[in-house]
């Protein structure tokens, strides 16, 4: 590092580069023999993130050959771990490169530590799954990939380790790659969460393809593990998801100020935005976004801010402030995947506290739908969930809460269960479906989502599906399409004179039928050279002088409103 402190080194340049860095969290899992600790130790050591006194304190103490450093001792923090040569609990480690800061959630790999793996994966953007090249795909690697997928970690980096033990042989790597690729496909199908996997042949012990690309495997054209970690997109897609803001605290320093403090769970908020407060459903406009550093014009996840609304609403801790355009679901019945984490098995007679965002509600588990056999990736019937079991259950809540599915939102779709007697954290839950209040007492199995419903599509797009048939000059048709698109609709343009429809006249109705079902506006266009625009929507007809483009466009929009294509915003999503 002394190389950096040269006359050319400028602290201001350094700080400027630091400001540009973002944060990536990834999890690892493994046990003592698959080289996980060695891999992490190598990442830390080769990025010069361990200090000499820390290396000195372990030098010559491990189980490696003389002169070599046993990296596992760098990472195993507890005495019992060093004494027994095992990793017991999640440890968090930190390092940074010229591009990025990293937080590693380093978890043990054995089955009895499934709960620790889930803990590590819950905040991870990526997971490094280790496979020992000399042993092939073991249950442990499957389990880690399954849990990562269940917790919606999108990027799986498969490090095929100990390549030195198989003579850096490409075919050994390819066999594992193809076998594990099909395992990952099966896993993604099971959890419903898409996975993106990248395979890297490495030797953590020798340092091959960990930080630097290896000379030993010229057949491998990809990047090193660290280069890959540096280039992965971080989790900040939270910007594009709907605004969610769990209220943590109501701030009322004096009678002139009343603000709602919280951390933005997803999306973006600006002064002037209309928001709804759930579960009450009342709405208001955002007046100010207050921070110690001054008011903001815009705030995005994951910032912690304080919102001031334009009029008094009864809001308290635990309420969810959401975008009025795409509100969350309010529910008292929830279906969720659970990872059971406590010595005492799940008990359906027991009352648990369900902690979700910034509130907790009493809950009972009504049914266990199935347990997942992570080894075989199959579902099996179960009466009970024990420690480290994964299953799907239905829960009844004593009060309704505002939530999203975990697939849609990792904050508002997640919860923990607390045993109200022992106070232990007994399970982690990921909501897969929820029934709205209205459905209560009615059809028990009517869930607000599962397959995407018409209502959900309408809530997202702000309109329902429909078919608009238009005939007129091509230029005017283009103008109308543009104006309908600009109005924020999701539309598809279909050329009715396309030869496929001439050959198969019935096809047009089939295509527009599917599009309507999917909530799209189908614009069925017939270009001609006449002076008249004719429009046909759901039995309503309209003709307009084609030379008056502005008037024609206005008339089309008027007709769309008249027949109720656009849904009123206060109804959206509820």
């Amino acid at each position: 590092m002394s190389a950096m402190i040269t006359p050319a080194f400028s602290i201001e340049d350094f700080l400027e580069r630091e400001r540009a860095k973002d944060l990536l969290r990834f999890s690892t899992a493994g046990s003592v023999d698959d080289g996980k600790s060695t891999l992490i130790g190598r990442l830390l050591y080769d990025t010069q993130s361990v200090y000499e006194d820390q290396v000195r304190s372990i030098e010559g103490k491990g189980t490696t050959a003389p002169g070599q450093i046993d990296f596992a001792l760098l990472t195993d923090g507890l005495r019992a771990e060093r004494e027994q040569g095992i990793t017991i609990d999640v440890a968090y480690r930190y390092f940074s490169t010229a591009r990025r800061k990293f937080i590693i959630a380093d978890t043990p790999g054995h089955e009895q530590y499934t709960r620790n793996m889930a803990t590590g994966a819950s905040t991870a953007d990526a997971a490094v799954v280790l496979i020992d090249a000399s042993k092939g795909v073991l249950l442990q690697s499957r389990r880690h990939a399954y849990i990562a997928s269940l917790l919606r970690v999108r990027h799986i980096l498969v490090a095929v380790n100990k390549m030195d033990l198989v003579g850096y042989d490409e075919s050994a790597f390819r066999v594992i790659e193809s076998e594990f690729t099909s395992v990952l496909e099966q896993i993604a199908a099971g959890t419903g969460n898409p996975l993106e996997a990248t395979f890297i042949p490495v030797s953590a012990l020798a340092g091959d393809n960990i930080v630097h690309r290896s000379q030993a495997m010229p057949w491998y054209k990809g990047t090193s593990l660290l280069e890959l970690l540096e280039s992965l997109p971080s989790s900040q897609d939270a910007r594009t998801t709907p605004f969610r803001f769990p209220v943590q605290r109501v701030l009322r320093p004096d009678h002139t100020f009343r603000g709602f403090s919280g951390q933005i769970a997803s999306g973006v908020v600006r002064p002037g935005d209309t928001v709804s407060v759930l579960p009450s459903g009342r709405s208001a406009k955002v007046k100010r976004i207050v921070t110690w550093d001054g008011d903001l014009d815009e705030a995005a996840a994951p910032l912690s801010v304080t919102l001031v609304l334009d009029h008094e609403l009864d809001i308290s801790r635990g309420d969810l402030i959401v975008s009025a355009d795409s509100p969350a679901t309010v529910a008292k019945r929830v279906k969720a995947a659970l990872v059971w984490m406590d010595q005492r098995p799940l008990d359906r007679r027991r009352r648990y506290l369900l902690k979700h965002t910034s509130h907790a509600v009493p809950a009972f588990i009504s049914t266990i739908e199935h347990r997942t056999n992570v080894g075989a990736l199959t579902r099996e019937a179960a009466d009970i969930l024990r420690m480290n079991d994964i299953g799907v259950v239905s829960l009844n809540l004593l009060r309704p809460i505002a939530l999203d599915s975990y697939r849609e939102n990792r904050s508002t779709g997640a919860f923990i269960l607390i045993d109200s007697e022992t106070n232990g954290t007994v399970a982690a839950g990921m909501i897969t479906a929820a029934s709205s209040q209205e459905a209560e007492g009615g059809a028990d199995d009517v869930y607000a989502w599962g397959p995407v419903t018409v209502g959900e599509r309408e809530a997202r797009w702000g309109h329902r599906g429909g078919v608009i048939e238009l005939a007129g000059p091509a230029e005017l048709l283009d103008t109308i399409e543009r104006s309908i698109f600009t109005a924020g609709t999701v539309s598809s343009r279909i050329d009715a004179d396309h030869e496929v429809f001439l050959l198969h006249p019935d096809l047009l109705a089939i295509v527009t039928g599917f599009a309507t079902q999917s909530g799209l506006l189908s614009l069925v266009m017939r270009a001609n050279y006449e002076d008249v625009l004719s429009v046909h929507i759901e039995g309503q007809r309209l003709t307009h002088n084609a030379n008056d483009a502005i008037g024609a466009v206005a008339a089309v929009h008027q007709l769309l409103h008249t027949i109720g294509i656009f849904i009123p915003s206060e109804k959206a999503g509820l």
């Binding site: 700080l15 973002d22 006194d53 940074s96 010229a98 990047t223 280069e227 540096e230 995005a300």
Partner: protein, 318 residues
Amino acid sequence: MPVAENEVLSQSLSSKFQASPHQSHLRMLEAESIHILREVASEFERPVMLYSIGKDSSVMLRLAQKAFYPAPIPFPLLHIDTGFKFAEMLSFRDEMARSIGAELLVWRNEAAIAAGTNPIALDTKRCCALLKTQALLDALRHYNFDAAFGGARRDEEKSRAKERIYSFRDSAGQWDPKNQRPELWSLYNARVHPGESIRVFPLSNWTEMDVWQYIHEEKIPVVDLYFAKERLMYVRGDALLPIEQSFVARPAETPQFVKCRLRSLGCSPCTGAIRSDADTIPAIIAELLSFRSSERANRVIDHDQEGSMEIKKREGYF
């Protein structure tokens, strides 16, 4: 923490993934810490912030100001005074509490101090147990605090790497590392029975470098002892020992002026200084980049036995 120099590597990387506009890592850490501070203030009946006057405490205090703005910090600060803190630390502490209008509580194990407890008369292990751990547990019990914030970070020491953000302590204040509550997402379990408590570490995910960068960006005041200047020290080989306490001196030993600074602040008899010219925060950051030793290498109490921090924490230390 040192930074990997890998310029060639980053240039050769194709833009496989489009970089998106992002929050800087300090903003993300700040947002996470504020969320934790607000959770604790809302869920516990009597929280308190342990204020140790050091750089981490200074950052934590600023985060508390931010978390509740424009309202005041809704809990008191507690300083465990061993009687061996540097005089500059104590005056800084009083001035800081006064200027931000925070309630400051100071607790000392007066009986042990009166009995002449010091790390030379006893050993460091027993001295810490009496003046720090015992004093802390007595103070928490006296005021009936059910949650206490500490500025510890996971990158400081390897048993701390295993610490939860909400660290559960039994009614004797003890930590059981093998039986910690799972902590997922940012959902914290704040439930305790009467007598039990939670230690909370809002800076868990910060590194030493993050702390200094934040102090720089936010212009947070820190004790002058962090900055290099000529100070009288006992010089023993590489070690520089502050002259604050007379019992530190060996017979016939005379102090010398050395340009030095303190990298972390503890009790003066057990905190060595380092030779340094770093007299500004950017200079400290530049110096940090060149360091090959961890910040706690100069803290005698971390090295008095194998796994010493873990043992102290089990007994109730922060």
